[in-house]
Amino acid sequence: MAETAEDRLVRMLALITYLENHPSVPVADVAAHFGVTEGQVLLDISTLWVSGTPGYLPDDLIDFAVDDHEQNLLTLTDARGMDRPLRLGPQEAVALLVALRSLQAMPALAHDPVLVSTIDKLRAAAGEAAGAADAVDVYVGAEDVGERLTALRSALADGKQVRLRYVSGSDVVSERVVDPLQLLTDAERWFLYAWCHRADGVRQFRLDRMLEVTVLDSDAPAHPDVALSERTDPELTTAQWHVRLELASRARWVAEKYPGAAVTDLEEGWFAVELDVVNLAWLHNLVLGLGGDVRAVHPPEVASSIAERAKAALDAYAALDGTGNGTQ
C-alpha cells in the first residue's frame, strides 16, 4: 500500500528528532528502529536535505555531515529548530490508547505490568488528548480459555512443541503435534496459528475447541518460510464451495462479518450474499444458527444436506418427548 503524505511527514520529522540525539548512527539501525527499509530512510534523508526555511539558500536548509553519509552513517548538523518531538494528535492518542486497553482486556495480559506502565506513560505523553480514549471500549471474549492460553504462551516463549486433542467444526476429535507460531484473537475468539505435523502444513486452531493442551519437551523446529497471519479470517484461497444465501434484513451482520461477501439487495429488505466456503461444516452451523432468517441456499445439494440435519434433530426431539416420563 502506498504511504500517505501524512505518514511520511511524521516519519521525516521523527527522523530529525531521533538523529539529533544519535550522531553517526548507521542507516540500517535507523531503518530497523522505524520499521522501514534502508532505501526509504535514504529517500527521507534526501528530502530533508533540500528542505528548510523560505529562501532555501544553503544556510536555510537542514544539513547532514557529508563524510558520514558516504560511510552510510547519518549525522545531523543543522536541524533548523525542528529537532523537537512532535506531540500526538488527538486521534492518534486515542487509537493507541484504546488498542493498549484492548490488549489489557486479553486474559493473558490483564495484569501485565509493562502494559500498565505503557498506558500511564502514553496518557502523560498524550496530555488532554488522552481523555477521549476513555469513551471507547473493546470487549475481548472472556470465554474460558485461560489455562490453554497460558500453556500455549509458555510453549511459544520456550520454543516447545505441543500435543493437541482437538475437535473440529464438524465435531471430529483428532490428536496432533504442532509447532506453535502465533496466538491471535479477533476479540471474540482465540486462535493458535501453528505448523501441524499431521497435516504437514500451517493450520489455525480455535482455543475453545482444544480439549487438551500438552506442552512437550521436544523443541519446535523453526519455520522461517511461514508468513504469520495478519488476520483471523480463514484463508479463502482454498475455498471449494461458492454458496449463495438469501437472508432476511435482520441477518445483515452476516455480510458485515465475513469480508469479501458479495451482497445483492432483493425485495422488501431481503438480500442475497455470496460466500466462498472452505469448510461445509462451518456453513451448516451458520445456516442452522440463522434459522428462519435464511429462505434459500444454493447450490441445492448443500440446501438439502442442511435440511436433512435439521429434520434429524427435530425427529430426535420428538422421540425425546415420546419417551418422557409421562409428565409432558
Binding site: R87, V136, G292, A310, L320
Partner: protein, 334 residues
C-alpha cells in the same frame, strides 16, 4: 524548478516555515515563499491546497495558530505555536515501546490503523530500540470502526447531540435518530454507539455499520450529560443449560461442562440437577453448561443437529427448535 513538489515535502517545508517565522506568515507570503505552493495554478487552487494542508497538519497534532494584524483585519497570518508543539517528556523503556508496537498492530482496515502507526513513529523518535520479546507471538486483531467513528468520538468529547439515518436491524427500514452520544464500544467484531435516544427518551445502542451516511451535530456543545459508567454497565446473568449428548459427540461442549452424568457409565451418579420433570433419555449423556447469552448459545447448539438436545431451560429449547423448523424445509421439497 519545473518538477512538481511532492505533498510530503511541501508539508515539511510548511511546518519548518511556520515554526521558524519570527511573527507570522500570511497566505500570500506562504504562496510566494514556501516550497511547493508555486505549483498552484490559480488562487482557488492555492486556497484548496493550503486549506487541505493546514487541516492535515492539525490532525497530526501540529498546533497552527491564526493571527490577525490589528491594522489589517482581513489579512490573516499563521504560525506554529512552538510552546505546545512538543510531546511532554516521557521516557518509554524498550519493553514499553514493544508493547506500543504490539498495540499499533491491533487495528485492521481503518483510519485507526494509520493513526496508531503514526503515534508509534512519534514515540520512536524519542525512544531506544524496542524489545518485542516480552509479548512475542501474541496478537490481537480488531476490525477497525466505521467511517463515523471519528465524528462520534469528537461529539462525545464535545458533549453535543448528534443526528443520523439508521437502518433498523429487524425491518431493514431507515429512520432518522437523534442521540446524545455517551460511549463507543467494540464487541463480537462490531462497533456500537451507546447513548440517550432523544425521541424514545431512553438509553439505546446503535450498531455503527447500520448508520447510513454521515453523522451531523445538533444544538450546542457541552449540553450532553454522560452518566456514570458504573450505572451504565450491565452484567448478563448466568443461565444453567442442561443438554443431552450422543455418546462421544460434542467434545467442545463437554470440555465446558460444569456437571456430567453418563447413564452408560453406571447409574450410580446421583445428581441434583436438571429439574426432575425433564425427561432423561437413557442413551445419552447429560451435561450442564453455564451460559450468559441464550440466543448465541442456541445458534451454536443448532449446528450439532441431533447430537445435542436441550433438556432445560425451555426457553433455550424453544430457541433451538425455532431455528431447526425453517431450516428443515430448506431443501425445497417440504
Amino acid at each position: 524548478m519545473s518538477e512538481r513538489v511532492e505533498p510530503a515535502e511541501r508539508l515539511l517545508d510548511l511546518v519548518i516555515a511556520l515554526a521558524n517565522t519570527p511573527h507570522r506568515m500570511t497566505k500570500s507570503q506562504i504562496r510566494r515563499g514556501v516550497n511547493g505552493y508555486a505549483d498552484a495554478k490559480n488562487d482557488a487552487a492555492f486556497d484548496r491546497m493550503f486549506e487541505r494542508d493546514k487541516e492535515a497538519l492539525r490532525t497530526l497534532g501540529v498546533p497552527i495558530v491564526t493571527l490577525t494584524d490589528a491594522a489589517h483585519e482581513d489579512d490573516i497570518g499563521y504560525r506554529i505555536d512552538t510552546d505546545s508543539y512538543d510531546m511532554p517528556p516521557v521516557a518509554f523503556t524498550p519493553a514499553e515501546v514493544g508493547a506500543l508496537s504490539l498495540a499499533a498492530e491491533v487495528w485492521q482496515d481503518s483510519t485507526l490503523s494509520a493513526q496508531s502507526r503514526r503515534a508509534l513513529t512519534k514515540v520512536r523518535a524519542v525512544s531506544e530500540l524496542e524489545d518485542a520479546a516480552l509479548h512475542a507471538g501474541l496478537a490481537l486483531r480488531v476490525r477497525g470502526p466505521d467511517a463515523n467513528f471519528g465524528a462520534l468520538l469528537d461529539a462525545i468529547a464535545d458533549r453535543i447531540t448528534v443526528r443520523f439515518t439508521y437502518r433498523a436491524a429487524n425491518t431493514g427500514r431507515t429512520k432518522q435518530r437523534t442521540v446524545e452520544p455517551w460511549r463507543l464500544y467494540a464487541k463480537d467484531r462490531g462497533w456500537y454507539l451507546v447513548g440517550h435516544d432523544v425521541d424514545r427518551a431512553a438509553e439505546r445502542e446503535f450498531r455503527m455499520s447500520r448508520i447510513v451516511g454521515r453523522v451531523s451535530r445538533i444544538g450546542e456543545p457541552g449540553t450532553v450529560q454522560v452518566p456514570d459508567r458504573a450505572s451504565a454497565h450491565r452484567e448478563a446473568p448466568i443461565i444453567r443449560a442442561t443438554l443431552a449428548l450422543r455418546p462421544e459427540r460434542a467434545s467442545a461442549l463437554r470440555a465446558r461442562a460444569v456437571e456430567i452424568e453418563s447413564p452408560t457409565a453406571g447409574a450410580g451418579s446421583a445428581q441434583s440437577s436438571p429439574p426432575a420433570q425433564v425427561p432423561r433419555p437413557s442413551d445419552r449423556d447429560v451435561i450442564a453448561v453455564d451460559i450468559s447469552d441464550l440466543d448465541l448459545f442456541a445458534e451454536e447448539l443448532v449446528g450439532y443437529g441431533d447430537a445435542v438436545l436441550v433438556l432445560d431451560p425451555p426457553r433455550l429449547r424453544e430457541a433451538v427448535l425455532a431455528r431447526l423448523r425453517p431450516a428443515a424445509s430448506l431443501g425445497g421439497e417440504s
